[in-house]
Symmetry: D2
Subunit: 350 residues, 4 copies
């Protein structure tokens, strides 16, 4: 019943096996091995076009370096008020860029509202030196609220980006879960909808540590090479990341694990809906479930070994939370089992 | 015959096995799992005192964050002219610290000359605002030239550090090789000789990716927690690093691999000395061998599958290199076999 | 009728005369001249305690360096949503601090609301590494909306600062106007109410270029010395700033000019109130007047040579602005004359 | 007898008069006044082509921002070992650029040796990510050793810059003295010889505070606008700088003061040569004289009211300094009088 986060799981057995398989032999360091190159190639196939790939250590690094690739003095990145880069990265995006600013944009349940975005940018569109100027837009897919931007939603954002000449970054720490939810292709969900640079997360979906920047805007590739090294994010034994991605992509493992995590979330959501004393805060679209539970019941569940987090009210939440109730987040992963869910459901009803 | 670098090897089977063993089950993320904590404890045992441990992604990160922990406006870090932080980190130390300066110090074969160090610091000791001011001293053990600071050498440097009130950092990317060479203890080679903060490298000595900052100056621990996260160096599934270190330390594996690498270097050195057309540039003390070979012979070796690097003349080298000769670096590792060496020796003689 | 800003005026004749008077002779550079030292001493007298003084080139520099003096990795500065550091400094505070964050706090008419501040800080009080942590509070006196924090208001903020162990910075670009308005002393309005560091502006109130950081927290003085030089804010012929301040303080010139500017604002406000087609947006408390005018009338005034700015609606404004009306800002200064005001009033009525 | 530095003088009476003259009236702030614009125009005339002008507070700011305009991750600026940016700016260039590196180049008496420069750059020309990469070249005219690059010398450096695609910056804190010495034009000494960006100093040559970046590479102008503001270097009452430059350029005042300062240096040099117990360390070419004096004599001179500095041995100095002798620097300025020199000469002989 570990629903604290998808990063509490270990690694998928196939990922672990791949690491072991690539254990021996010598290979060029710093991302130049044959395996690294094969994996870069694999990314290009998956995205149906040439992409430049940069392995990095963490999702925070992927996001921060992506923004740094588009850094400007006085630059402002527009992102959702509750995005990971705002709430969970200790100011890394600002630090990496030497002080650019994140400007929160409103929007219900983790998704930027396009008109709020436009208004936000418009204010700085004159590039008045005192005020600073727009530098990038960042969206998260799936969002921190477990919701999804539909393809049209992404397009609406990217049209605004185009109008103002801004790059569009996607934080895809849970990219696979979004893809599974939308039943679309990586290409459709990214560059075909105007995404310029993507943080592609494998860690939460079955890897130990496999994060990559996928750069569609190839003119920036050389700079990003230096940016990554300068940020101490260039692995020497890079093939240990490559090996994980190799297994991750093989036979569609990554989509399998994402579908599984999403299905487990749906099962959990159903269990919560079934319980007469509990309710969903909103409908989950990927692998995160937000529920309103009686506080005492929640405490009992935690005491009995379940792990999940108390959550803050997201912007745009219009439901009702009773005096004795709380909002809680549950995250499922490749490792979540039906048995986990069913046991939780049982405890919930108890 | 892969002597290009010790980071061309994969991971030791026991390290790989540990990763697989910890594959399943849930564990708190971000370094708070039981395994992480057990490994922190293990570090304290190994160093015979309480230490604070920070896993990071790369040696460059360990060095850069360590200096950042002692950052000062106008700060100057004194380090060897050919140290890794000067030559191989793309300016990461300067970037992480927001612009502090590295000031190269001379010294033969990779080791700082204490009197040159003292002279270097003395110039800034007045803390004149225009000139900047001393901030830290950094030494590398074993050095980039494959040499070792003896315990007295470290003490000589640390006395200077004390006199000027400066912290002393050790870049221990090849810490184990130095330890094996000196046949001393981690404590003796570090805090008992005045080291304040250590980059402890496991990657080059048998891990996939296992680098830790070992902080002896515990008052700085809280700050370093924020510094690491802000630098995007906090792993979510931190136990994948912990698992590697767990295996690394178990039954003295790390010293075994280091002794092996050093022994292979000695064997290689002997083979070179034996060859009438080749000679050692200087005596290797750890797992790096620098040799003077006939250029044509070197090319032939490379063509026949050997991997090693052409090297620049280090400061303080007083040997003679003939017109048709070159200086080359050979690095051995846990994975190097006697057979590798013997085959190389044979080719060399051919 | 130049009400665009108080920085559109030149310098007070007495300030200009002082510059000319100190024109000749030699004096130690970089702030060490006798005149510099006398002016530092004068600041201590004015503030009724020892203070450390740092001349800088701009108000933006004063604010940015002040925050840098309290910089922390992952640090967050709480300030009003419409403060100068947020809206008008091109990200300089973030740049100077290498990426710390400004977190806007709500509050009516330019003044931070204490309970909103408390709530804002409370969220980060746990110092969770992901979220970042509180680093400072900044208030502006007088505010960007021409309002004033009363002494009790400052105390209410500083009590919160104390509770959370945070330094309290005051942006005093219009310090003298606030002082004149409150009819209190510099000491009462600053350190006696818990201010740790102050941006003391002379430029807007009759100098050419005279900005100083007044540091009450003397332990930070040495660091600030390096911070200022590193930020390229240490003037060589520093006495040209000292000379201005010398004249500024002599015989209370600074309070005279501030009282005059405030009086002119009051006269302008009265004229606007008198006009049946115009109204004050809110009561001015210092030297800035915000008025609601018919747009066409405003355009006519601008066409006839008046200079003033269209303004955005400040947070907490609860007045009504008609469809054909706009909100405008008028700033008076030492140079504003009664004749200016009367001529404007006449044109307004026309 | 104040020869400590040319920044110990005040301002030329004509500069002071101009400040007073522009004292009254209103003018657009932040560099947009008519006077500002007229001065920008004047710069274009003086340089015989369109230039972009950025007033800043200090020479350190001019240099640091100039390098920031060409900033690159992993970037290395090649400059003389004893240049102001290396020795006297407290790391500001590194800070402004967020951590780029200055790489000292050797060369006799303050001038970069072209072949040492080439060798220095060549090492990084491969743009290997570990090593960092060339970003700019900086020269100082006149140099810190009071010497001058001839037009051919500048061209030799700029040819290297071109070959490697690097921008060439000139630190012209003493630009006018160099110009007076070479009897050439501003255009010939800068863009016609390949200079891309210039720190144009007026402060040391008769202004209070008048430093400008002269940008020949107009494509960078917009970025520099943001860089300057973000660095808190945009003056509000910018016309106080403009007024100084206005007087500075009027009727060739600036060349008059420079010629005077140089002539005073020559007179001082002659006096030293005349003295049998003293000698010039090398021939002065602008307004700085370096002499070898008996230490006791030097102390006596200082005691009798003369001001000058003990100096370090510059790179490439091949003269002899006796055991009881010291090397001293004397700087003359617009304010130095023949009487000063003659009095000093008399004391020297005494």
């Amino acid at each position: 019943m570990f629903f604290a986060s998808d990063n509490w799981a270990g690694a998928h057995p196939k990922v672990a096996a791949a690491l072991s398989a690539h254990n021996t032999g010598y290979a060029a360091a710093y991302g130049d091995s044959d395996l690294d190159k094969a994996v870069y190639e694999r990314f290009s196939e998956i995205f149906e076009r040439e992409v430049a790939i940069f392995f990095v250590a963490t999702g925070t690094a992927a996001n921060s370096l992506s923004l740094t690739a588009y850094n400007k003095p006085g630059g402002i990145t527009f992102c959702h008020r509750e995005s990971h880069i705002v709430e969970d990265e200790c100011g890394a995006p600002e630090y990496f860029t030497g002080g650019s600013r994140l400007r929160p944009v409103d929007g219900a349940l983790g998704r930027i509202d396009p008109s709020a975005l436009e208004q936000g940018i418009e204010r700085f569109a004159g590039e008045v030196v005192h005020a600073g100027r727009p530098m990038a837009i960042s969206i998260t897919q799936s969002t921190e609220a477990g919701t999804i931007y539909g393809l049209d939603d992404i397009e609406a954002i990217s049209k605004i980006a185009s109008r103002y000449g801004l790059p569009l970054q996607m934080d895809g720490a849970r990219f696979a879960n979004a893809l599974a939810s939308l039943e679309t292709t990586p290409a459709e969900m990214t560059w075909k909808r105007g995404i310029d640079i993507l943080s592609f997360g494998g860690t939460k979906n079955g890897c130990w540590c496999a994060e990559a920047i996928v750069l569609f805007d190839l003119d920036r590739a050389k700079e990003l090479t230096f940016l990554r090294k300068r940020a101490a994010q260039l692995f020497s034994k890079s093939r240990f990341i490559a090996a994980q991605f190799d297994a991750y992509f093989k036979d569609g493992l990554w989509m399998e694990t994402a579908h599984h995590a999403n299905a487990m979330a749906a099962r959990l959501a159903a269990a919560i809906e079934d319980d007469e004393n509990s309710k969903l805060a909103w409908l989950p679209q990927a692998n995160e479930v937000f529920a309103i539970l009686d506080r005492k019941r929640a405490e009992r569940l935690l005491a009995s070994g379940a792990a999940f987090y108390d959550w803050h009210m997201p912007h745009g939440f219009d439901g009702h939370i009773g005096e004795n109730e709380g909002l809680y987040r549950f995250v499922t992963s490749f490792a979540t089992t039906e048995k986990d869910i069913d046991r939780f459901a049982e405890q919930l009803r108890a």
